[in-house]
């Protein structure tokens, strides 16, 4: 009897669910991205309602758009590493190393010829990215050839890159950089900060890479099941090498954004970014166990957290309260994921009823519990 009433209520629900799904498919937005979009709008609306005078002030909006890019680019890099089933803890250290290299090179050249140093701006920016490529390649080698677990490999390189940065700068903050780079950090095109445009460009390029190139699909497959990837002729070492190098390059680019915005460079900038960037990547729908990620989700997650940070400032709340809010959002999103998953698949409490787990099962089993 009870099961019959269940059935009657369940069917229309499923119908709505299906219709909602097909609607999303038609506008090419998947579930996580749709949910993320809602969250972004809600967060924005909340602060706009609470304190419209400060929050909706053009200067405040401008600030959000200038602060978001460096975090967003790092989050996209983190997403790539997670897509292959790994993680890159060294990204912020790479970004700082990139910023410091730019500043050091500028200062060294400017000592003899300030004009030349100023004119080298594009090359200096490129240099920053190349530092990232080199650092990313080191990570790639450790993960793909030596075979160290990504979390440990990049924890190690994070310390090393950070150590190099501290030793090189003597722990002080560097102020040398081409004026044109600092100007770029403040300039806008049609009211949109250039830095933000760079972020969007990176997002679009990464989106294309992940969804539309053979290499991107290989990265997804590698993360989804490394053994099956190997048996499909996918060379895991080159996939990982490429992914960590690209992530490093994005880290280097984030360093360029660091120095353009602040405009300074130091070894301890953005110390809280590592965790923030992981939160953003996961919030944006990246599966920490690998195989699934959407760039659009990560972009929206970046904006949401930036709006949140700025809203907290507008409300005169502290950095600690912001940190707590970050954690709460992450947990709420994970919980709603779990609930939806249960409702769709029915009770599946027994681990043994799940299918044979691929050999990267430690990850799979753990993530099953978290996400």
């Amino acid at each position: 009897m009870t099961s019959k009433t269940d059935d009657r209520t369940a069917t229309p629900m499923e119908g709505i669910d299906d219709r909602y799904q097909s609607l999303l498919r038609r506008v090419h937005v998947d579930r996580t991205t749709g949910r993320m979009l809602l969250l972004t709008v809600l967060t924005f609306g909340l602060f706009a309602a609470l304190n419209p005078r400060v929050f909706l002030n053009p200067l405040n909006l401008q600030n959000i758009a200038v602060a978001a890019p460096e975090i967003g680019v790092l989050a996209i890099a983190m997403m790539l590493a997670m897509l292959t089933g790994g993680i890159d803890l060294s990204l912020v250290a790479i970004a700082n190393l990139s910023a410091i290299t730019i500043s050091m090179t500028y200062t060294a050249v400017a000592k003899d010829d300030p004009g030349l140093a100023e004119s080298l701006m594009p090359l200096l920016a490129l240099e920053g990215v190349l530092v990232g490529v080199a650092a990313g390649a080191v990570n790639g080698l450790l993960v793909s050839r030596v075979g160290i677990t990504p979390i440990l490999a990049t924890l190690g390189t994070m310390q090393v890159f950070n150590g190099i940065a501290v030793a090189w700068t003597g722990g002080s903050t560097l102020y040398g950089l081409p004026q044109s780079l600092a100007d770029l950090g403040m300039s806008t095109v049609g009211g949109v900060p250039v830095l933000f445009l760079v972020f969007l460009l990176v997002a679009v390029a990464t989106g294309l890479f992940v969804a539309r190139t053979p290499a991107g699909l290989r990265a997804q497959l590698q993360g989804a099941n490394p053994v099956a990837a190997k048996f499909s002729g996918i060379e895991s070492s080159s996939v990982l090498m490429r992914t960590y190098t690209v992530a490093g390059a994005l880290g280097g680019l984030a360093g360029v954004l660091f120095i353009a915005r602040n405009p300074t460079a130091s070894a301890d900038y953005g110390a809280s970014y590592v965790l923030l960037v992981i939160v953003i990547a996961v919030l944006g729908g990246t599966n920490p166990a690998g195989g699934f990620a959407t760039v659009a989700g990560v972009v929206l997650a970046t904006l949401t957290l930036q709006v949140l940070a700025s809203g907290f400032t507008a409300m005169r709340l502290s950095a600690y309260e912001y940190a707590i809010a970050q954690g709460v959002i992450l947990i709420v999103v994970m919980v709603t994921d779990q609930v939806r998953w249960r409702r769709r698949r029915g009770p599946r409490r027994s681990a043994p009823s799940d299918a044979a787990v691929p050999p990267n099962s430690h990850q799979t089993l753990n993530s099953g519990r978290q996400s």
Binding site: T2, S3, K4, D6, D7, A10, E14, D18, L208, R212, T213, P214, L217, R218, Q220, L221, A224, N225, V227, A228, A229, K230, F231, S232, G233, I234, E235, G291, F292, G346, P347, R348, R349, S350, A351, P352, S353, D354, A355, A356, V357, P358, P359, S361, H362, L365
Partner: protein, 504 residues
Amino acid sequence: MVQPEQADARQPVLAVRDITKTYGGVRALSDVSLELMPGEVHCLAGENGCGKSTLIKIISGAERPDRGEIVIDGVAHPAMDPAGAIRSGIQVIYQDFSLFPNLTVAENITLTSAVADGKRLYSAAALRPAADRIVAELGLDLDLDADVERLTVADRQLTAICRALVHEARVIIMDEPTTALTHSEVARLFALVERLRDRGVALVFVSHKLDEVLEVSQRVTILRSGRHVVTAAAGELSPAAIAHHMTGREINEERVVSALPIDAPTVLDVRELNLAGAFEDVTFSLRRGEILGVTGLLGSGRTEIAEALFGITRPDSGTVHVDGAPLTGHRIEDAVRAGIGYVPEDRLTQGLFLEKSIADNIIAGSLDRHRSRSRLLDRARVRSTIQSLFERLKVKAPNTRAVVRSLSGGNAQRVVIAKWLATQPKVLMLNGPTVGVDVGSKAEILEILRNEAERGMGVIVISDDAPELVSCCHRVLIVRRGRIVHELAGDDVTVSRIQDRMAA
């Protein structure tokens, strides 16, 4: 037409009534009922995706039915829960084994009972004797201390069987327990089944090997597309009748091989391949358009030969030529680039990306072939490859976006085959291509292989299913202790010859 049992006085230990289950829009079961008597082996048969595993998961509490009830000892439940099912004496050997890969064999065998008993402290040592006993009783050579993730498919299957048998169960459900087992292991399992039956245990047995079904069971229930078709005593059915009930049509298992042109060029040439401890002096060649069977007992080296050709292991010596060009490099990528494809034995971990869509799985091996000049994937071409293979292989799923995990076993196998056909290999090796595939689909898969061969592919079928080899292979190589000991060709390819030579 439910056959009335003679012992009507006896109550069924377990019955399901009018079970209906849908997944999204897919109706996996419609109003299915089944009664299970103590001391009987009840076989559940039907095509891939007809709902056998779903029914089993409903009985074990892994899934909830939309409608219907499960009756145990006369008490009706709208749904079961896994711990409750185990406590009521129901044990299941799942099709995918559902083992914990990072635990040892012994731990896997004893863990669930400890958990179901609600023990707070679990001690592997205390339960070890139970694990020892069941392994001895089955006469198995199973290393209890090995980690499950390191085991072969056959050993994993044996572990899953031991886990179910270690309990004092009243109902044991086996979802395709014999797919990876050899004759002798199957014989020992059946002997144990007989002993359990004498003790009054009721068993449900699922298998696509119809001769096995008739050998072990007393009653057979056949499902088709989620509906109950017939329940009858095993004695009243023949394999052909079962196949007919399952598919609704006649299945042709006869030998159909094309005439190879005399001048068909050699596409694969293997000379004096050696790998210490696995195989010795392996020399054979394969012509374009030819289907070559490779068979032998489990552990004979037949899988190892294929794995060496595919670059999974590195042979100590020997040469391999594909289309006249030497195979350089000994990695999988090299083999794939040279035009060799391999459908592995262990499709769940090695063949499939379970959480990815059918589309992603099909395209996984041929990404570079679908690149446009802009270096992006050519989406139109990707879509047409995926769609045409999806249709040609008749994968049963709502669309290509469906996640592979939601497919039934036989349909998952078609996806792996589709992945390799998308790479248009010169040589396709298939290890157990129709394991877990129903009789109708099996005939279809063999027909697909015949068609691919006609188009010029060289096909190697590694299998211990003699009728299957006879049905499609031009020649059959028999491997024993790492050596090719016989070659059968033409009219010599018969079931009895293959079985004689394998055992000899």
